[in-house]
């Protein structure tokens, strides 16, 4: 059958780039597997969202609705999706490996007794999938057996789907939920407000490491450069662990994986685990006072310098470029 069901994650009434990546991955997989790509939107009332995602080249959109799906919780979402998949008989269930995708998809897999491949970066013609292991130091070709498979895709691995002139039909389905199996309560979400681009969507990222020495320095030294370049701000694990910046900024094997046009690593030594999160960036710049720092081995342009002098200088030079 080869149908691919794509879980279309949404936030604040629209679809992040990561969802459009899932859509294009689903479209490619459906092409290779000889099936249809169907987007699934879950929530309380999904009319507007379903109508929006319908423009991105899928064969159909299913609006899976239930008041208890208004705030995402893994048990309710897993129940709803699984009941739908059992009813429709899809071969692959797909989502982007965002925090939500990672939280939800293994639950769906277990519920379906289906194997799951996490964070694929490529789909082979023979149906096998490629995924990174060992912090990206090995690429594994994997095979999933059984009538249904679950897949999450790395957000940097495929281009975002583009809107077209036509819209697929939308089908509204009432989600089947078993109250006895719903045991979780959403309490709150402390969202980090920012005017800057999202890390996972930005063309330019400027990241700071332990070399910045304090959260205050992130503000006074790094942020002017970030904003002059219209960039998103990232950080190494060390900077987050030290409390300089929130966890949401962590780039790396166990944080966010990014691949922007330009990645500027400031005061970051370049541990394997950090490289795992950014080494697919098109152009990499490293500014570090230690000329032996491993980050220089992946940098296209390296500057051995004291960041407290170099970064303000760079902010000025970039400003000059605009005039």
């Amino acid at each position: 059958m080869g149908d691919v069901l794509v879980f279309a994650e949404h936030k604040h009434g629209h679809f992040p780039k990561s969802t459009l990546v899932a859509i294009s991955t689903g479209l490619e997989m459906a092409r290779k597997r000889g099936g249809n790509c169907i987007a699934v939107v879950t929530g309380d009332n999904c009319d507007a969202l379903a109508g929006e995602i319908a423009k991105y080249g899928v064969s159909k959109v299913i609006a899976l609705e239930e008041p208890r799906l208004a705030n995402y919780l893994s048990d309710a979402a897993a129940q709803a999706l699984t009941a739908l998949i059992r009813g429709r008989g899809a071969e692959t269930v797909l989502a982007t490996a965002t925090a939500m995708g990672k939280d939800l998809m293994p639950r769906v897999a277990a519920r379906l007794n289906a194997p799951m491949a996490s964070e694929i970066i490529a789909i082979n013609d023979d149906g096998t999938l490629v995924r990174p292991m060992y912090a990206g130091n090995a690429l594994a070709t994997v095979e999933l057996e059984g009538p249904v498979r679950v897949v999450t895709v790395r957000g940097t691995a495929f281009d975002a789907a583009k809107a077209t002139d036509s819209a697929a039909p939308v089908e509204k389905v009432k989600a089947e939920l078993d109250a006895a199996g719903l045991k979780m309560e959403f309490v709150n979400f402390n969202e980090i407000e920012s005017d800057r681009p999202q890390l996972t969507e930005a063309k330019i990222i400027v990241s700071g490491g332990r070399g910045l020495k304090s959260g205050e320095n992130f503000k006074t030294v790094l942020e002017p450069l970030v904003d002059e370049m219209g960039a998103a701000m990232g950080a190494s694990r060390a900077a987050v662990d030290a409390g300089f910046v929130p966890n949401d900024l962590q780039v790396g094997q166990t944080g966010k994986v990014v691949a922007p046009e330009l990645y500027v690593a400031v005061g970051i030594s370049g541990a394997i685990q950090h490289l795992a999160g950014m080494k697919d960036s098109k152009t990499i710049v490293a500014i570090n006072k230690d000329e032996e720092a491993p980050i220089f081995s992946v940098a296209d342009f390296g500057l051995v310098a004291d960041l407290f002098k170099a970064v303000p200088e760079m902010t000025e030079e970039v400003k000059k470029l605009k005039h």
Partner: protein, 249 residues
């Protein structure tokens, strides 16, 4: 409270990983084996909960070969009470791992299973969630804080865009993230005591769960190495290069 903590043996994160020429795996001759760092955080959290509640039991479980006893002894040395080694000569895929742990949990009846969010070798990030679904329990992944009020558990999770708080009654599965705690080192007295703590072995095929592999790794290869670029002498040169050569600003 009884807390079950699954523990995986993985290569030390600082290991230089080399893919074998035939693609069958990684070279292990230079590998130092350790407890998966996220599972270490799980053990630490279990110990802190036990200490705060002045009672309870922390039980470790591994699924692997005889050598995995090393890591279980380290966990016992940190302060866990006993360990279970489910002997399996071949590695199992995440579904099978989850089935084994869920089966053991059905027998052990822990109130809480705390497990690392991912193993740093396969980076799958599946087991905890699968265990939760198989047991029909709530799950809280990427936990940065766990609190209890009676039978209710509140967890703050690191998600995209910020921190989310969810709550549920026990029993439940929690997967750990980096900021949950900083694990203790095993003390010398702890290491001595660990030798006497129970470490029971069971053969995986005596549990009566389906172990058929459904996720198969066909081959491994090394990624394309990124070529190093060049070092520049000044900020001016750097900005000029980015503007005229790379054309990214």
């Amino acid at each position: 409270m009884k807390i079950l903590v699954p523990v995986k043996r993985v290569p030390d994160p600082a290991t230089t990983i080399r893919v074998l020429a035939d693609g069958s795996g990684i070279a292990t001759d230079n590998v130092k084996w350790v407890i998966n760092p996220f599972d270490e955080i799980a053990i630490e959290e279990a110990l802190r909960i036990k200490e705060k509640q002045a009672g309870g039991e922390v039980v470790l479980i591994s699924i692997g070969q005889q050598t995995w006893q090393e890591q279980l002894r380290t966990g016992l040395a940190m302060g866990a009470d006993r360990a279970i080694l489910v002997r399996s000569e071949t590695p199992l895929d995440p579904l099978a791992i989850a089935r084994v742990i869920a089966k053991v949990a059905e027998n052990e009846k822990p109130e809480l299973i705390i497990i690392g969010k991912q193993a740093i070798d396969d980076d799958a990030n599946q087991a905890g969630q699968m265990i939760a679904e198989m047991l029909g329990w709530p799950q809280a992944t990427f936990a940065s804080k766990i609190e209890f009020a009676g039978e209710k558990c509140t967890v703050v999770r690191e998600v995209d865009g910020g921190l989310e708080t969810i709550a549920f009654a026990l029993p439940a599965v929690v997967t750990t993230d980096l900021r949950l705690n900083e694990p203790r080192y095993a003390s010398l007295p702890g290491i001595m005591k660990a030798r006497k703590k129970p470490l029971n072995e069971i053969a995986v095929d005596t549990l009566g769960v389906d172990l058929t592999p459904k996720l198969k790794i066909k081959t491994l290869k090394a990624p394309e190495k990124r070529q190093a670029g060049r070092k520049l002498a000044s900020v001016q040169e750097l900005v000029a290069a980015l503007h005229t050569e790379a054309k990214v600003i």
